[in-house]
């Protein structure tokens, strides 16, 4: 795979030499170096990937069963939920060392920070609550009761509506972030695991792992407008288990990880039609764009690797070995 990229770079160089604009063109064509942080659920580590070099440049030992992961808005910390230690660890992005913890409830799994970067909303699977944490003060400042086994967390772009999915209740709970009250509950298909708003706030997508669908919800009407189904030729329906979702900034293309179907579905996010399936590693869980949206990285749980998708070409261009059972991925903004 790297060979293919070298050829592309070579072609660019050859072209630019012929036009006498070589250096500028190569620099412009080069993706900026970002750091991707991958949580390895089994090996209790975070693999740090340089997205330009496309290789692991560091490994951080963390607590038991790391899953949900994000980089704080100020880029100073990587937050990782270590479920079996009932806490969220803070890794300093400068030193790559664990410097502190956040007081989540029991068994934290997924979380999302608000647009200001001040608050963190955490799904605690074991006690049917969403916990609100003040990141700066490292303090738990509130709880919201939701359905059984809260998991997916989405936040409207204006930060006003928090959406939590509950895996056994099978709902997307709409929480008003000002009053911290549940204001709506929307039934979706079985075992909803992830919630993702479009950047313009016009749609909310919720994946249902056991139901095998993605519900497209109108956040204003608070109703399911469409259900995306996935038919992979030659694959039994039970193996299609949607989990992670990513939608491009322009809201035109959606990506859905299909778990043990080992594929990422590419969806026209305007018509909600599946365009194609990209074969990635085994048991694909979650994904993240590089900030320039040039690449999409996916975590492949069973094959212990990360696939790199070229977003423009809609092709898998590289595979990187990481730790055991990679689960979550977050990418720094610089």
């Amino acid at each position: 795979m790297p060979a293919q990229i070298a050829v592309e770079v070579g072609t660019t160089m050859w072209r630019c030499v012929s036009f006498g604009l070589c250096v500028a063109a190569v620099l412009a064509g080069e993706a900026k170096a970002y750091k991707a942080y991958v949580s390895n659920e089994k090996s209790n580590t975070i693999s740090i990937i340089d997205t330009t070099e496309k290789k692991v440049v560091g490994t951080v030992k963390v607590g038991q069963r790391p899953r949900g992961i994000t980089v704080t808005k100020d880029q100073k910390y990587v937050l990782v939920a270590v479920g079996d230690d009932d806490t969220i660890q803070m890794i300093d992005t400068a030193s790559n060392k664990i410097v502190d913890t956040l007081p989540s409830g029991p068994d934290p799994e997924l979380f999302i920070d608000d647009p200001t970067g001040r608050l963190l909303y955490v799904a605690n699977e074991n006690d049917n609550t969403v916990t609100i944490i003040d990141i700066e003060r490292r303090a738990r400042i509130g709880d919201v009761e939701v359905g059984v086994e809260p998991e997916g967390m989405g936040l409207s772009p204006d930060g006003k509506i928090l959406v939590n999915t509950s895996e056994t209740t099978n709902m997307a709970h709409f929480i008003d972030t000002t009053t911290r009250q549940v204001v709506a509950n929307i039934l979706v298909d079985a075992r909803p695991r992830f919630a993702q708003f479009k950047d313009d706030g016009s749609e909310l997508w919720v994946s249902s792992e056991i139901g095998g669908t993605v519900s497209v919800i109108d956040p204003v009407k608070r109703a399911v407008m469409h259900k995306i189904n996935f038919l992979v030729p030659g694959m039994r329906q039970e193996a299609i288990q949607p989990v992670g979702i990513a939608i491009t900034h322009d809201g035109k293309t959606g990506f859905v990880a299909l778990g043990p179907a080992n594929r990422i579905a590419v969806i026209d996010a305007t018509t909600h039609q599946v365009q194609k399936f990209l074969l990635v590693g085994q048991r694909v869980w979650h994904m993240a764009f590089t900030p320039d949206e040039k690449y999409l990285l996916t975590t492949n749980g069973v094959s212990n690797d990360v696939s790199i998708i070229d977003v423009a070409a809609l092709k898998v261009v590289d595979t990187i070995q990481v730790g055991e059972l990679p689960w979550g991925v977050a990418i720094s903004q610089r």
Binding site: D107, N126, V148, T168, T169, A190, I210, R236
Partner: protein, 394 residues
Amino acid sequence: MIRAVIAGGLALVLTARFTTAEPLTIKIGYIGRAEKKTTISLLDLAPDNDGLAGVRLALEDNNTTGKFLNQHFSLEEARIKSGTDPTDIVVQFADQGISFFIVDLPADMLLKVAEIGRQRDLLFFNAGAIDDRLREEDCRPNVIHTAPTRSMLADGLAQYLVFKRWPRWLLVVGSHEADKLFAEALHRAAGRFGAKIVQQRVFEDTGGARRTDSGLAQIQRQIPLFMQGAPAHDVVVAADESEVFAAYLPYRTREPRPVAGSAGLVPKSWDPAHDQWGANQLQNRFMQSFSRRMNALDMQTWSAARMIGEAAARVASGDPQAIFTYMKGPEFALAAFKGQKLTLRDWNLQLRQPILLADGRTIVSVSPQEGFLHQFSELDTLGIDRPETKCRLK
């Protein structure tokens, strides 16, 4: 007013806590067995609330969901002795407005309650009886089965033994009726998946206590003696639902061979050690409430109560007929921590489910095994399939 909206099926969105109307109450009855099975190992003795704890947890789960939908689930519990007439308790529950019954009773008693229920439009969930005949010649249109069948259990085990390339089985069968039925299922499984039963021996139950002060000295000598002279075999498979001898086989066989079936590697719907696919969360909730881990019977009763909760949420109604129709339909899916959705076989109302293979400490594997294919659902490689069924639901 709220109910009218729900009945209209338009209430996809309901505001929580602002609802002041009386919740819709859905009443569930649980009828279990009064007596407990004697087991060889103390560790296998069923806890007092075996099965009942599963229903109670599912009720909690249903009610957590129900508070967002203005639905409430209530539970009435009863236990009856084997061989007694279950009519009174069924009638008594029905008179209280209960339409859904989760039942853990022997096959004949289950058939009796189903008959009583037919006249009153009651719906039953067989959570305890694994007899194939209840899904075949004795199937009933008002009985859903969340317990797996003997043939599903046997097939789940057989697929794994074949995957391991242990095709030569020495089958040891107990002398009770249930043991013979399990042996029949194992014979069928061996034939379907390409294993060979090299010999079958019967271990007679001569009576006697499972626990004695003189202890294990005799067993250590008796088991190898019983097993001498057997033809070459890869694995010893035991059919001993009555718990007379199987647990004595591992480490005491004449040849150094693994044991499977009723001891050693055991096929089951659930196990206290199961933690995959989010099961850890369910086990944690269960532990918090009942100070123990979840057994197979608990999972079978939990599944039944969750099926009612799930369907009631989807149809936004407590009407038994609407709930039953939804469960049988193509939209229904139960998420039960087994890695894929569970659905109903529409020809006999058996819940499709993966079979766990447990060694008492860990889950060794989960069937169906890779490569056992099926045109409709790989879960239908387990148990008696549609083309072979003797069931006519009417």
